[in-house]
């Protein structure tokens, strides 16, 4: 029994170790780190010199603003990540040799998980921006850890679904221009979907970074003040999105497996 477990662990470890071995000296962590720094810089700039009124709703503002920033930056960051990791196989023409050593499905899954790992690092980093800004600018509002976890989870799940698309595009394109242009277009569409009517916005894959914002914004024109009120979490919509994500992954995976090298 123990030996079987050990063998299974070894089996799992090997493709993971191979993937990380391939990424050595590529400084892949710099991609999420660079984008994290941009988001951090933007958040710090947007929150600087707050009045007492702004301090009292500093976190609500960040919870509202961060998904918008994610809509703009994450599609391209994911495209860059996927392209960086998949292009090494395309450029090196390694796929034929790889498939003699590793199952096609295993290769596809572990490559995807490798990319998702860096995405997770980015999302966890984003979660740290909230307490960081709160401490830096002395927000008087209480930080809800549940909302931080929810933000990280939503960003990560929406990211993995977009990653599914970028992953297959990057693996199937001899030329990386297509996945990168798709990422660029995704950033555009994701951002603008936030201005669309709800029904249309839900049809845009990249718009889901901003679909589960925990606050809604109100603007008092007379007083020229922004205020935020809590918004209910659309559980059904989120569950539907997760199911779609899994189905989408399985479809893309099967398309990839059927494809001739």
């Amino acid at each position: 029994m123990n030996t079987a477990v050990q063998q299974n662990t070894k089996k799992l470890r090997r493709p993971a170790a191979v993937e990380f071995q391939k990424g050595r000296r590529l400084h892949l962590f710099l991609i999420p780190f660079g984008f994290f720094m941009v988001i951090l810089l933007w958040s710090v700039y947007a929150s600087k010199d707050p009045s007492d009124y702004e301090k009292a709703q500093g976190y609500a503002y960040l919870f509202f603003e961060m998904p918008l920033l994610n809509c703009m930056t994450m599609p391209l960051m994911i495209a860059v990540l996927a392209s960086r990791l998949c292009d090494m196989e395309i450029k090196g023409q390694t796929l034929k040799l790889l498939y003699t050593l590793q199952e096609k499905g295993s290769f596809y899954d572990w490559k995807y998980l490798h990319e998702a790992f860096y995405l997770l690092l980015f999302c966890l980093g984003e979660g740290l921006i909230f307490p960081l800004c709160g401490r830096l600018f002395g927000f008087t509002e209480t930080l809800s850890i549940i909302l931080v976890i929810r933000h990280v989870a939503v960003a990560f799940i929406a990211g993995t679904v977009v990653l599914t698309l970028q992953h297959i595009l990057s693996l199937c394109s001899g030329n990386q221009i297509l996945p990168l242009v798709a990422g660029l277009a995704g950033s555009f569409l994701g951002l603008f979907s936030m201005f669309f009517p709800h029904e249309i916005a839900r049809l845009i894959l990249w718009g889901y970074f901003g679909a589960f914002v925990p606050y809604s914004m109100n603007y008092d024109e007379a007083a020229r003040l922004l205020s935020f009120s809590p918004a209910a979490f659309p559980v059904g919509e989120f569950a539907g999105f997760c199911i779609f994500g899994v189905a989408f992954y399985l479809v893309c995976r099967s398309v990839f497996l059927r494809r001739e090298v």
Binding site: Y45, T73, L184, F188
Partner: protein
């Protein structure tokens, strides 16, 4: 020599997907910009100028630089693959001509993109029933945006030349655009190449941000161009290639 390099680069771009990217990507901000304008006609009362602000709101802030990044990455990818660096460096032309040839092509594609954006802008204006043609200022801002692309194009070519990955320079361009937005809000846009695009295109503004004088903008563009061009030529001459 430069003429030969330009001809060679032109040949490399024949039937390339780069033209498809130049055609398709600007269509998205055009549709979005026009849609956004129609949603806010009660507060956007400046006709052509208001529509321009919606067109360029995010295009110049965040997407123009990565688009130039895509063009540059594509041009250098051809050299990074199939040991083409060896062929490139043994050609009887100077490194400056090689780099300048690529830069000229980038400017050609960028000019095409900008003019296409302008055409889409006119179509958008006509679809929302604006009378006549847009004011001449806007065409000037479009071309000024192309001028700023000289600095960005040189920088992106340098990045794509040094970084063998197709994607990383494009990510850097997006990050640069985001930082550019912050810096231009702090009135420090002239010191950051990526902010020059927004300043040149007069994005999200009715009044010309450079009505006080074009000279600082031109000096900044020239400075960044010379700086990145110089570094690129130095690297091409002194560094060994990785074929």
């Amino acid at each position: 020599m430069l003429h030969l390099c330009i001809k060679a680069e032109n040949a490399k771009l024949r039937h390339s997907v780069i033209w498809l990217a130049a055609l398709l990507v600007p269509v998205i901000p055009a549709i979005m910009g026009t849609f956004n304008y129609l949603q806010n006609t009660d507060i956007l009362t400046g006709a052509w100028y208001s529509l321009w602000s919606q067109f360029t709101l995010f295009y110049s802030l965040l997407f123009y630089a990565p688009l130039i990044g895509v063009y540059c990455s594509y041009l250098w990818r051809l050299e990074h693959m199939n040991h083409n660096w060896n062929v490139l460096m043994t050609m009887p032309v100077s490194p400056a001509s090689i780099f300048a040839g690529k830069l000229v092509i980038i400017l050609k594609v960028t000019l095409f993109t900008q003019l296409w954006v302008y055409v889409l802008f006119v179509i958008g204006g006509k679809l929302v029933h604006f009378p006549g043609l847009p004011p001449l200022d806007i065409l000037l801002w479009t071309l000024r945006g192309t001028l700023a692309a000289i600095a960005i194009g040189t920088l992106q070519l340098l990045l794509s030349m040094c970084i063998r990955s197709f994607a990383i320079p494009i990510g850097i361009a997006l990050a640069g655009g985001c930082i550019g937005l912050v810096l231009s809000n702090l009135n420090m846009g002239l010191f950051w190449p990526y902010a020059l695009l927004m300043m040149g295109m007069n994005s999200n503004s009715y009044e010309d941000k450079m009505s006080g004088g074009l000279l600082p903008f031109l000096i900044s563009t020239l400075f960044f161009f010379l700086l990145f061009f110089g570094i690129s030529i130095y690297l091409l001459k002194k560094r060994d290639v990785k074929a």
